[in-house]
Amino acid sequence: MDEHLVSILTNIGGFTFIALSAYLLLLTGEISFGQQAFFGIGAYFSGIVTAMWGLSMWAAIPLTMLAAAFSAGLVGIITIRLRGLYFSIATLAFAEMVRLALVGTTWQVKIDGEMIGPNGSEGLGNIRWALDNNIEANDFMWIVLITLAIVMGLFFLMERSRLGSIFRTIGADRLLAETQGINVTAYKVAATALAGAIASLGGIFYAHAQTHVYPENFDVMLGVHSLAYGLIGGLGTALGPLLGVILDIGFLEAVEWVQGYRMIAFGGLVAVLLIFMPRGILDERRVHRLRMAFRTRKTEPPPAKTHDPAAS
């Protein structure tokens, strides 16, 4: 496969995880400007696990997701009384704290004569697990895409389960959700932790694809993009954030003649969609119609067999 295409598909996969994490919080009615923090924690923590501790990426994935879920859960508990704009500002502040902490952190150890580890604004390099294990870019892309398919599958199952209804219910009306016997506080902390873990997956793959990450990779623009992906693609299904990422990275970033104007086009797209489709292209109403149409088609009886004398 063409190298450029492999790189784009790997990026689409990686950034869809952070888009899904922002989408999960949007379902519960919260706008987080801080999901880049958990993407960054994912990149750094997994990089430390593979480059400094010498473990495989497969070991780094659960460890990193647990660490990200724990830190996100803490943020969820601290911000549980905050809603709306206040929650958004708190998450943004947390993400900036994480980024600045990474800028200020130097923790390097000598491994095989090389200094390895976070080095302030110079970032964390030598994340060579994929190279050392002869995993080609093409194979790495499939690892990312298959993991994404699994996560998307879990999202589809979740959305059809009680848990999905509970998250959407909390997002629609927190008070009404409480009167339905839903422990809103517990579910919101759980959603925040889960979203953190999902965002970290994107960071893990990003770090191991790039081999070197910098604190500036996880700035506020990444958080804004992760939110915008769901708002563009739609909040009716987990396919919405994926569609948003495909439109941005797959089209605006990949197509040469748009590249110089990418941010202008992206900003314009977000503005237009917020006016005409405030809950995105695949919003709840459109997704419901599609589901109904699909169900009707599936339940329609097959056409009656007629005898055609001319054929016999």
Binding site: I166, E178, G181, R285
Partner: protein, 238 residues
């Protein structure tokens, strides 16, 4: 079944409920009647844990449930149908109904939904439609059905006929009567004196956060003060 003693609810410096005492017995329909801002809904919301109780106690089946979170109160057997026909417009009607039975098994919810569509035939063919597609009356029926699916011992209804056409409001009160006949205990908040007392066994009249009158529906309907204050007519004219 439900006993409220000296209940007080405050919003900042405003005391919306000031020492309310009320009782709801098993199998009864009890109405809280009063004008807008009298403190009826605040009382109901404090009972089910949505508003903080500043003073007083709420006990249910002999157990103190004062200031328990609303999801715990529901677990004790008190369901609430809030004011304004609050349903989830983005969820289908079936998903709305299923939310009512979050604490029940899937099979029991299936049976309960079948039971509810028998009681509310308007919903039968519309289970896969979104809640936002329903009219006001149908949305209220869905909200009622969702409350009943939780299989509560006590159902709290906050202005179930608010903003509905008289015919639809009549249907809603018929359904409420039907629920009582099935053994459900109901506490009802309502502004419409006649409609509320026509369906209730007993009533409390709330003014400025206090109970000013209480009695059986017959006694209250015969009360001269209520006729003048709420119906705007002297009893001889009514």
């Amino acid at each position: 079944m439900l006993s409220v003693r000296g209940l007080e609810v405050s919003y900042g410096k405003i005391r919306a409920v000031q020492g309310v005492d009320l009782e709801v017995g098993e199998g009864e329909i009890v109405a809280l009647i009063g004008a807008n801002g009298a403190g009826k809904s605040s009382t109901l919301r404090a009972i089910c844990g949505i508003e903080k109780v500043a003073a007083g106690t709420v006990s249910f089946k002999g157990e103190d449930i004062t200031n328990l979170p609303s999801h715990v109160v529901l677990g004790k057997g008190i369901a609430q149908v809030p004011e304004g026909r609050m349903i989830f417009g983005n969820l289908t009607i079936e998903e709305n109904l299923r939310l009512g039975g979050l604490r029940r098994s899937e099979e029991k919810i299936d049976t309960a939904i079948a039971d509810m569509v028998d009681m509310f035939p308007q919903l039968r063919d519309r289970l896969s439609e979104r809640g936002s597609a329903l009219s006001g009356g149908q949305a209220q029926m869905l909200a009622l059905a969702r409350g009943v699916i939780a299989r509560p011992d006590l159902l709290l209804l906050d202005e179930p006929a608010l903003g509905l056409a008289p015919k639809t409001a009549g249907e809603i009160f018929d359904i409420i009567r039907g629920l009582r006949d099935r053994g459900l205990t109901i506490a009802l908040v309502e502004q419409n004196l006649r409609q509320a007392l026509a369906v209730a066994d007993r009533g409390y009249v709330v003014e400025s956060g206090r109970i000013v009158l209480e009695g059986t529906s017959g006694d209250l309907l015969a009360n001269d003060y209520l006729h003048e204050a709420y119906l705007g007519v002297k009893r001889e004219e009514a």
